[in-house]
């Protein structure tokens, strides 16, 4: 005999505290159990990939800020790498180092945000989020110091970076990098050993390595599932092959592992920034390129390890000043695609925690 | 009992109880009638207080207003929308007549019989100041067997309810 209770539809979003933006989950529930999830995206669609075909290569850089607005630097970097590959532009050594520094700072900021909101979704009343925001603030101040903007940085240029950091940048980043390990230790002390967090996140939203690879999951989610894969090591770009760092790899692929992998990656980022600062070469920060760059007809794909995963930019040139085709491989969208598999059969709170652990940015999903 | 507080309290509370009881009967919506039945339970608890039965009054609120009413609301929720109205059956006229007859009979008997009751100062003397201790010692002394039986009954009802509503795991 079964219950006569009927499944009902719960609309989580588009306005909901834990969808991290305008994104809607149409959940079919039986009591508190989730029977089906329908992900409705597109509320933030701005048609960026099409718009990019109307603008010059340089004009497109600000667009990439606005896809993943929590990791603008990484997006800038990926796009510039793709165009550089297309147009065969050489990047000075100093620019590569600066790119690494800023991409890793961005990773720190983004992972702070991801872990903070994850704990928030698990129910902590904003305190861990505020703690992590404290460090993120300082990183954003560094961005502001260098390029005048905090979120939509528009800092990388084709052939280098827009500005050399000002002199006051160096003491500020030194103090931040010195402080950061103690702060991460503080988070570890506050959160990692927390019984409630373990109870909420252990064994929830498990993805095995095979499932993750089948779903073309990338980034911390893939690493949490136990696959040692990181583009910075597998296919080093910029100057990553000159730095010494390690890839944190999780054990079970649950939400807790994702949290831990992100926390560990923050430590590794600090390590990379430290090495890059110590070895920062002098020289020009940019190769001059023509205002209207006209690459030879052809196509290029460049990928970087963004905070959320493999961030790929595919650019096709027909010889004109604007890309003929432009496509972004957005890790948020692809990581989100397995939410249904992870959350069906779980309870509603578990689904929310799982969603929090996938660390989506709706601007990147919808582009 | 002629002190003005008790007299006023008695009339107010009996009015509340009987009125709420009538509204239980008259409400069209089953959930509204659950609300009114809770009100009747609370009025009844007030009447118990006027009888200086403090323990029973508080237990009444705890068990009826706190527990049984939640069970009632749960049962209403678990049944579908269609049966959330409160219709009368074919027996309604007969039922109302029997109810009226019984109420009239009891009222008549209560008012007409000269009860061998305590009055005045004897009644004041017997006002129970603390009933808990006595009830406790009686429950575990004179009435120990019924008390144990009652606990067995509760356990049986508990297990029975779970067994009835439980879904098969398989």
């Amino acid at each position: 005999m079964t219950t006569a209770s009927e499944p009902y539809v719960l609309n989580i979003g588009p306005q909901h505290p834990s969808t991290h933006g305008v994104f809607r989950l149409r959940v079919v529930m039986d009591g508190e159990r989730i029977q089906d999830i329908d992900m409705v995206v597109g509320y933030l669609h701005r048609s960026m990939e099409k718009l990019a075909e109307e603008r010059t290569y340089t004009q497109n850089i600000p667009f990439t800020d606005r896809t993943d607005y929590l990791a603008a630097m990484s997006n800038n970097l990926g796009y510039c790498l793709a165009v550089e590959r297309l147009a065969d532009v050489e990047v000075p050594e100093r620019a590569s180092y600066l790119r690494v520094i800023f991409a890793e700072l961005q990773r720190l900021a983004s992972h702070s945000m991801a872990n903070g909101t994850f704990i928030n979704d698990a129910g902590a009343w904003q305190t861990p989020l505020m703690y992590m925001f404290r460090e993120r603030e300082k990183i954003l101040d560094l961005f502001e110091m260098t390029c005048g903007a905090r979120l939509t940085t528009n800092y990388m240029r084709i052939g280098g970076v827009a500005f050399d950091p000002p002199p006051e940048f160096y003491p500020a980043i030194e103090s931040l990098i010195d402080e950061m390990p103690t702060r991460i230790a503080e988070y570890t002390e506050l959160l990692v050993d927390n019984e409630i967090l373990i109870a909420r996140a252990r064994g929830i939203g498990v993805l095995t390595a095979a499932e993750a690879i089948n779903g073309s999951i990338t980034g911390p989610m893939l690493r949490a599932s136990g696959v040692p894969w990181d583009l910075r090591k597998a296919e080093p770009y910029c100057a990553y092959d000159q730095f010494d760092f390690e890839i944190p790899v999780g054990h079970t692929g649950d939400c807790y592992d994702r949290f831990m992998v992100r926390l560990e990656e923050m430590r590794q980022s600090v390590r990379i920034i430290r090495q890059a600062l110590d070895g920062l070469p002098s020289g020009p920060h940019k190769t001059e390129i023509p205002l209207a760059l006209r690459p030879a007809p052809g196509e290029a794909y460049a990928r970087v390890e963004g905070p959320r995963g493999e961030l790929g930019f595919y650019v096709v040139s027909d010889g004109g000043p604007a890309p003929a085709r432009f496509h972004i491989r957005a890790p948020s969208l692809i990581n989100l695609s397995l939410l249904r598999q992870m959350a069906v059969g779980a309870a509603l709170p578990d689904a929310i925690v799982t969603l929090g652990s996938t660390d989506i940015v709706v601007g990147e999903i919808d582009r | 009992m002629s002190s003005i507080g008790i007299v006023l309290g008695f009339y107010a509370l009996s009015g509340l109880t009987i009125g709420a009881g009538l509204l239980v009967f008259l409400s069209r919506n089953l959930l509204h009638s659950v609300i009114f039945v809770i009100l009747a339970f609370i009025g009844m608890a007030g009447l118990f207080v006027t009888l200086s039965a403090d323990f029973i009054a508080v237990s009444q609120i705890l068990i009826y207003a706190g527990a049984i009413s939640v069970l009632l609301v749960f049962a209403v929720m678990l049944t579908p929308y269609a049966s959330r109205d409160n219709p009368n059956s074919l027996f309604a006229p007969a039922g109302i007549l029997i109810g009226l007859g019984f109420a009239g009979l009891m009222g008549f008997v209560g008012m007409r019989v000269i009860w061998p009751q305590l009055t005045g100062s004897d009644l004041e003397a017997q006002s129970f100041t603390g009933t808990v201790r006595s009830i406790g010692s009686m429950l575990l002394g004179t009435y120990a067997l019924p008390f144990e039986l009652a606990s067995v009954l509760l356990l049986a009802a508990f297990i029975g309810a779970i067994a009835l509503v439980r879904e098969d795991e398989a």
Partner: protein
Amino acid sequence: MNPLVIGIGHYLAVSGAVFGIGIAIALSKRNAIAVLMGIELMLNAVNLAFLTFSRFGSAFGSEPTAPLAGHVFVVFVLTVAAAEAAAALAMAVLVYRRRETVDLDRINLMRW
């Protein structure tokens, strides 16, 4: 009867009225849950009568604690009421699951 001197009669009248309402509800409602509410009201009325006699009549017992026997009975009635409510509501839910209704007029498998 002096309306300003409350005695057994007044309480019994209230008890009778509530009991009558309970009977009327229990007999005339079609919904099983409403019937259960009627029964609970009747039990309450009985409790009131118990407590009334316990309060007003020490003539019914000789021991000093004897009047409180009424209270003890009420405790038992409360117990039974709680048990009964749980079991009856479980049955109502079960009947609903099996037959998709809690309408007592339509639960007539055992009529004849």
